[in-house]
């Protein structure tokens, strides 16, 4: 028996190693975990991008438009880029500083590479012409479509959830 313990230890080691590796592989391929991770990623991305698309500072319109383009993809991206070029002067003239905050967001639907997220947003709009005035606060509710492109979740569509739309 005294001479046998190294072999028993080896058997035990092998057992722990094999079961550990099997469990580890199972975890890596676990759809539930992947889905949970994707859910949290898409909420984080939507929170960031929806805020971005509701924010613009007339003192740096170019940076704002660039951020819009960077947060979006597909037709929405094209629309934003086009609108940005057309309305650039208007945005400058209006002298508004919009700062949006996503108060809450939640995933309504989630597929492998696309998702629908709803978000409650508060936008604060300050007027550059009257910097002393209190900023106007607006509450909005949005529904956002996101797609995963090259590992990044980007906005493909963004619309307000209108009253009486159901």
């Amino acid at each position: 028996m005294r001479r046998r313990w190294p072999v028993l230890l080896l058997v035990l080691g092998a057992l722990v190693l094999v079961t550990g590796l099997v469990a580890w592989r199972a975890t890596a391929g676990d759809e539930r975990l992947e889905r949970a991770q994707a859910r949290d990623e898409v909420v984080a991305a939507a929170t960031k991008h929806v805020a971005t698309l509701n924010s613009l500072d007339y003192r740096d319109v170019d940076a704002g438009l660039e951020a819009w383009a960077d947060a979006s993809t597909g037709t929405l991206h094209d629309q934003l880029v086009q609108a940005g070029e057309q309305d650039r002067q208007l945005l400058l003239d209006q002298q508004k500083i919009s700062t949006a905050e996503v108060l809450e967001a939640a995933v309504l639907e989630l597929d492998d590479d696309s998702a629908t997220v709803i978000a409650a947003v508060e936008v604060s709009i300050a007027d550059g012409a009257t910097p002393d005035a209190e900023p106007e606060l607006k509450r909005n509710r949005f529904s956002a479509q996101l797609v995963r492109t090259d590992g990044r979740w980007l906005l493909e569509d963004l619309g307000q959830v209108a009253v009486g739309a159901a």
Binding site: R3, P6, V7, L9, L10, L12, G13, A14, L15, V16, L17, V18, T19, G20, L21, A23, W24, T27, R32, L33, R35, A36, Q37, R39, D40, V43, L103, E104, A105, A106, V107, L108, L110, V117, I118, A120, R139, R141, S143, V161, V163, G164, A165, A166
Partner: protein, 165 residues
């Protein structure tokens, strides 16, 4: 080196490797994301979404003609701090409602689960409140966003917290 030393060394390497693998597995499965069943547990998420929507349409609706209906629904479907929060939400409305003979209807536009852990859930809900004056049928619609806590009580979900955004 004797054969015995080699065997022991191999055993230790295997043991350490195995424990590292198990450690990684444990860590992966105990993250906050992994413990949250929202969206992942499709059936439960769908159930709580439906039941909470139904509860809200019942406890936030109001008919000046039968005010006790709302109160009875609140009594039955709300638990914990949601009772007081509902009371506060309704206090100002009740004053108006009595005078103007209001009828209020609630329609849920969207409800999505943020967190689902065992028998507790948190949802984000968008709803429309339509109020109609019985006197002249004039209607107005208000949009509302709420964070709702829910608790599973046996087979059914009840609302345990209401926070208007």
């Amino acid at each position: 080196m004797t054969r015995r030393t080699i065997v022991v060394a191999l055993a230790v390497v295997a043991l350490v490797g195995g424990l590292v693998a198990w450690g990684a597995v444990w860590q992966e499965r105990s993250t906050d994301a992994a413990r949250n069943g929202a969206v992942v547990d499709v059936t439960d998420s769908g159930t709580v979404q439906r039941e909470v929507s139904t509860i809200l349409t019942r406890v936030l609706a109001y008919d000046a003609g039968s005010p006790d209906q709302t109160r009875a629904a609140a009594e039955e479907l709300l638990v914990g701090t949601a009772r007081d929060e509902h009371e506060t939400l309704f206090a100002s409305l009740l004053e108006r409602a009595k005078d103007q003979q209001l009828v209020m209807d609630v329609e849920v536009q969207a409800a999505a689960v943020q967190e689902l852990r065992g028998d507790e859930a948190t949802l984000l809900v968008f709803l429309d409140q339509t109020s109609r004056r019985a006197t002249d049928q004039e209607a107005s619609v208000a949009a509302a966003q709420l964070v709702v806590d829910a608790r599973r009580d046996g087979d059914t979900w009840k609302v345990s917290g209401l926070r208007v955004l």
